[in-house]
Subunit: 550 residues, 2 copies
C-alpha cells in the first residue's frame, strides 16, 4: 500500500475536528432542548444544551485558573450524571484529556491507571468518595474535585474543591481554544484477563468521526430521546451522548442504578419518552425479567444497541413485545467502540423469519470508516464465506494504533504497508454478505484435526441444559488431533449427583457433530475466575495440560 | 482564538479520509445494490456497486499507464452518467483532481478554466465532442478520453482514447494508494457575474466530512433510491452521490435531460422508485407544471432538496400533492456546497400552519461542521434577531479558504484569529432559533436612512403583478437618504402602455412600508444581463448613478 500526496486543496484544512464543537453546535441550534438527569435523591434535574454549554464554559475557566493545562490528564470517578457529561466537553475543550476511571476495577488497578496516565486532578462523585480516599495515598493526583448535588460531604481527601463552586465562580465568556485534532480528548484503560489495564487515548478527531458514524447508524434525529445506560467510564459509554448532542436529541442520564433493581430506570425511561439507548445482555436480560413480572407493563418505542456478548434470541423476541428493538452491535475499548452493527440489508428481506433472526444475532456490518479482515495464526487473510474462522483484524479512524507506553503493543498489531491492523483477539467468520459473527476468543478456539471448535458455542449450549449452572470448555493438547475439547461443568445444587456425563453429551449432540463434542466432561464445584470475574481458561488449560497425553 | 496542542492520542491518526473509500465500502457491503443509468438512446443500463468498483479499478490502472499521476488535474465534460460517477472515484482515488467543467459556461470561460487549472487530460461525453473540438485548439490538454455508449464517434480531436477500451484493458486488481487527505479530490470553478471563474479545490477530507453531514441531514438509508438531478459539474452535483453510496442506497443517473421536457426524467423517477433527489426551482417549477398537466399524474414518496433560490410557496405546496416534499437547502460552489437545510425543530411544531410554511421558506439551520455569522460592512458581528441584516460569513471543514491562484482571494475572506471566514456576498438575517434567511446579495442591498431595503424582495413582489415580465431594483445615491431604490420594469407585451407607475407602486404598498418603496419606476424594453444571464445591476447602477442627485 503506497502513500501519495496530490495537489493542494483550497478548502479550510486548518479547521479542526474538536469535541467541544459538538456542544457549541447544540447550544446554538438546540439551545432549549432538554437534558434530564436523575440525582442521587431520585429527583430529576432538568436543564438545556444552552445552560450546559454555559456551565461548561464557566467550569473550564475555573479549571484553567486551578492550573489545568492543555495535555494534562484529568481523571473522573462517576456514575452517569449530567456532570460527567459536562466534563466530556470541558476537559477536551481545554486541550486536556478526560481519563475514564472504571470504578468496577480492583482498587489496585485504579491506582495503576491513575499513575500510568499521570492524572493530575481527579473528579469524584459524592457517592464515590470512600473509593477515592482508598486510592488517594497511592497516587500522584494533586487535587480532587467533588461532584455533589447538595453540600460538600466531609472527606479525608486533601486539596478538595467543589464542582458546583467552580461552575459558579467561572467566567461564562470563557473562549475555548482550537485544539489540534490529533490531541487526545478522552482515555480509557482496557482490563484484560491478565496483567495491568492497557491505555487507549482517543483523539478529538476519532471522537468526532466516530460520532458521525453513530449518528448515521442509529438514524438519530432531533426528536429522539437518548438515555445513557452504558457506564460512561466504559469506552466513552459507547460515545453515544456525542452524536445524540449533534442531532439535538433530548438526553436522559439515569445516575447511579443497579442491574438487579431496574424499576427506577424503567420508570425514568417511560416518563422521559426514551427512544434510543444502548447496553448489554447483562442489563437487558434483567430488564426483560422485570417487565415480564409486571402486571401492567409499559410499552416503549425504543431502539437499543446491545453489545458485549451475543444477545440471546429469547431476549430479543421478549423485549420486542414491549416495543424494545434490540440491535446487536460490536466493539471494544480499543475501537472507541463502534465497529459494526446489525441491520438487514436490502435484498435479504426474502429470507425466512428464522433465517432473519439468525442474521440478527450476528455482530453485523462495519460502519463506514472501519475496515475488517479475518486472518489465520500466520496473518494470512481468509475468505468471507461464513465458514472460515480467523482472528478479526480491525483498522480505521477511531481504532487504536498502540497501547500507551505498553510493550504489549508489540503483539497486538499487524503491519500492512502504510496502514496497520489492530488484532482484536476475537475469532470470527464473515459471511458473503459481509456480516461478522464472533465465535470465540481467538486463543480459546480449539483446533482439532485441522478444524476449529468454538469453546463459546459449546459453553452456551451446555448452559442451556436445565441442570447446568456454569460451564467452561478449553482445548487441551492431544497426541493425535493436536487439541481436543475438555468441558468443566458446575451443576445447580439441586441437580448435583443426578446428572451424568452421558446425558450432557447427548444434550450437546442435538447441535454439534460428533468430532466437536468434548472428549470428557468434568463436574467441578467452581470455575476459576480472573480479577474481572471471567472464567480463567488459562488456569484450566495449564492445570489440565497433560489430561489427554499422560 | 488560540490554537493548542494537547497530549498525543493512540488512535490511528494516519488513517486518511479518502474519497475512494466510499466506493470500496459500498462494493464490500452493498456489492449487489443497483446503479441505473439512462443512456443517450433512452435505454437504462443497470449494474452494481461491486461492478462499478471493478470498472473503477480497471480504469485507474489504464489511466496510470496513460501517464496520469498524483496531483494531475483531469477535466470532465459530461452529463449525469454512470461514467461521470465512476470518474468521481477513479481520479481522486489515484491522488489526481477531477476538474468539473461546466458545459453551460461560455466556451471562452471553459478555456480559461482548463488552462488556469492546467488540466492534462479531458474526458468528454460523446454528445459534447463538438464543444470539446471548439475549445481544444486553445487549451493545453494532452489527451482526450471519449465516453460513448457504443462505437467511438468520429472526431477532429487528437490523442483520443475510448473510455470503455481503457476500462476493458485495465487490471481489476489495481490497488489504490492511500492519498494524503488534504490533497484535492475535485475542483469546480465558480462563475461570478464579473470577471473570470474562480477556482475552488475540494480536499478528500472535505468531501468525506461533507458526505457525513449530508447522510445525516437527509437521513439516507440503504433502502433509499437517489436520483442525481443536479448537474455533476456544479459544486460536485451537491455531492449527494457520495453519501448515497456510503448508505448503500440505489443510484439513478438520468443522463442528458432538458428542463422543458421532463417527461422521461419523471418516468425514470417513477419506474426506479426514487425516494431522494436535489435540484432547484428552475427544475421543480417545470416539474410541477408538467405534473399538473397530466390526466393521471404519478404519486411519489420523495424528499427533494431545493437550492439556488428560495422555493416559492405555491411550488412547495403544489409538489406536496404528488408526494414530493421540497426541503429548502442552501450552499455555494465555495461551500462544497451544503451549509444549511430546513427542518422544523422540536419545540416549533406549535406554530400555526402559515407560520410553519414561512419557516420552511427560510434557508434553514447549519449542519454540524459549518459555522455562520452575519456581519456589517466593517466586519462587526450582528445579533441573531431575525431583523439585523448582514453579510453571511461561513467557515468549516468543507468551506473554501482561498481561490486558487486568484487575487480576488484578498477581498473574500475575513481573518478571525486561528481561523477565518469566507464572506459569502449574501445578505442574510438569522433568527433567534438559528434559521438563516437570505434577503439579497450584500452589494445589492439598498441602504436608506440607515435601514436596509432588499432589492430581491421588491423584485419578487413586482414580478407577482400580472403585467410584469421582469423587474430589477437597484440602490442609487441620494442626497438625503444615502441611497434610494430605483426600479426597472419590463412589461409583458400585451400590457405595454397600459400600466402606470402609480399602479405598480400601489401594488407594492400591499407589502412594503412607504419608505421601502422605489422613488421611481422606469419602464424599459430589457434589463442588461451578465454573461451567465443574470441581471447586471452593476451596469444599471453605473448608468443611473446621478439619477437622484442631478
Amino acid at each position: 500500500m503506497r502513500f501519495v500526496k496530490g495537489f493542494p486543496a483550497t478548502t479550510m484544512e486548518e479547521y479542526q475536528l474538536n469535541v467541544i464543537n459538538v456542544l457549541k453546535h447544540a447550544a446554538k441550534y438546540f439551545g432549549d432542548r432538554e437534558i434530564a438527569s436523575r440525582l442521587h435523591n431520585g429527583e430529576v434535574f432538568r436543564y438545556s444544551y444552552g445552560e450546559a454549554y454555559r456551565r461548561v464554559r464557566k467550569l473550564a475557566d475555573s479549571l484553567e485558573k486551578l492550573g489545568i493545562n492543555p495535555g494534562d490528564r484529568v481523571g473522573v470517578l462517576s456514575w452517569n450524571t449530567h456532570r460527567f457529561y459536562e466534563l466530556f466537553f470541558a476537559i477536551p475543550g481545554m486541550g486536556a484529556v478526560l481519563l475514564e476511571m472504571n470504578l468496577r476495577l480492583h482498587p489496585k488497578e485504579i491506582v495503576y491507571v491513575a499513575n500510568h496516565s499521570g492524572a493530575k486532578v481527579i473528579f469524584v462523585d459524592e457517592t464515590l468518595i470512600k473509593l477515592a480516599e482508598g486510592i488517594a495515598p497511592h497516587i500522584k493526583a494533586e487535587k480532587y474535585i467533588i461532584m455533589a448535588d447538595g453540600d460538600l460531604p466531609e472527606t479525608k481527601l486533601e486539596n478538595v474543591y467543589s464542582y458546583e463552586e467552580l461552575v459558579k465562580n467561572g467566567d461564562e465568556n470563557y473562549e475555548f481554544p482550537v485544539v489540534d485534532e490529533h490531541s487526545a480528548a478522552t482515555a480509557c484503560y482496557t482490563s484484560g484477563t491478565t496483567g495491568n489495564p492497557k491505555g487507549v487515548y482517543y483523539s478529538n478527531r476519532a471522537m468526532i468521526l466516530h460520532s458521525l458514524a453513530e449518528i448515521h447508524a442509529l438514524g438519530l434525529r432531533p426528536d429522539d430521546v437518548y438515555m445513557q445506560l452504558v457506564p460512561m467510564f466504559h469506552a466513552n459509554g459507547w460515545g453515544l451522548f456525542y452524536p445524540a448532542t449533534i442531532a439535538g436529541a433530548k438526553l436522559v442520564f439515569p445516575g447511579r442504578y443497579a442491574v438487579d433493581a431496574l424499576g427506577p430506570v424503567l420508570e425514568l425511561m417511560q416518563n422521559e419518552g426514551v427512544t434510543v439507548t444502548a447496553g448489554a445482555p447483562a442489563i437487558f436480560l434483567p430488564m426483560l425479567k422485570y417487565l415480564d413480572s409486571l402486571e401492567d407493563p409499559p410499552r416503549f418505542n425504543l431502539r437499543a444497541w446491545s453489545g458485549a456478548t451475543e444477545p440471546p434470541l429469547a431476549m430479543m423476541k421478549g423485549l420486542l413485545k414491549y416495543g424494545i428493538e434490540v440491535i446487536h452491535a460490536y466493539g471494544a475499548t480499543e475501537t472507541s467502540p463502534l465497529v459494526c452493527y446489525n441491520f438487514i440489508k436490502p435484498g435479504l428481506e426474502e429470507m425466512s423469519e428464522d433465517e432473519l433472526w439468525d442474521m440478527k444475532r450476528k455482530q453485523g456490518i462495519p460502519v463506514f470508516g472501519v475496515e475488517v479482515a479475518i486472518a489465520d495464526e500466520n496473518g494470512n487473510f481468509l475468505p468471507w464465506d461464513g465458514k472460515s474462522i480467523g482472528e478479526l483484524y480491525i483498522r480505521g479512524h477511531w481504532i487504536t494504533g498502540e497501547y500507551y507506553k505498553d510493550p504489549r503493543t508489540f503483539d497486538s498489531f499487524a503491519e500492512d504497508g502504510f496502514l496497520k491492523w489492530w488484532k482484536s483477539g476475537d475469532a470470527a467468520t464473515i459471511d458473503e454478505y459481509g456480516y461478522i459473527k464472533i465465535v470465540d476468543r481467538f486463543k480459546d478456539l480449539i483446533k482439532s484435526g485441522g478444524e476449529w471448535i468454538s469453546s463459546v458455542d459449546l459453553e452456551n449450549f451446555l448452559v442451556a441444559h436445565p441442570a447446568v449452572f456454569e460451564a467452561c470448555v478449553v482445548g487441551i493438547p492431544h497426541p493425535r488431533w493436536e487439541e481436543r475439547p475438555l468441558a468443566f461443568v458446575v451443576l445447580k445444587e439441586e441437580y448435583r449427583g443426578k446428572v451424568s456425563r452421558e446425558e450432557l453429551l447427548e444434550h450437546l449432540s442435538q447441535r454439534f457433530a460428533k468430532w466437536q463434542l468434548p472428549d470428557e466432561i468434568l463436574f467441578v464445584d467452581e470455575i476459576p475466575k480472573t480479577s474481572v470475574g471471567k472464567a480463567s481458561k488459562r488456569t484450566l488449560r495449564e492445570k489440565y495440560r497433560e489430561f489427554y497425553t499422560k
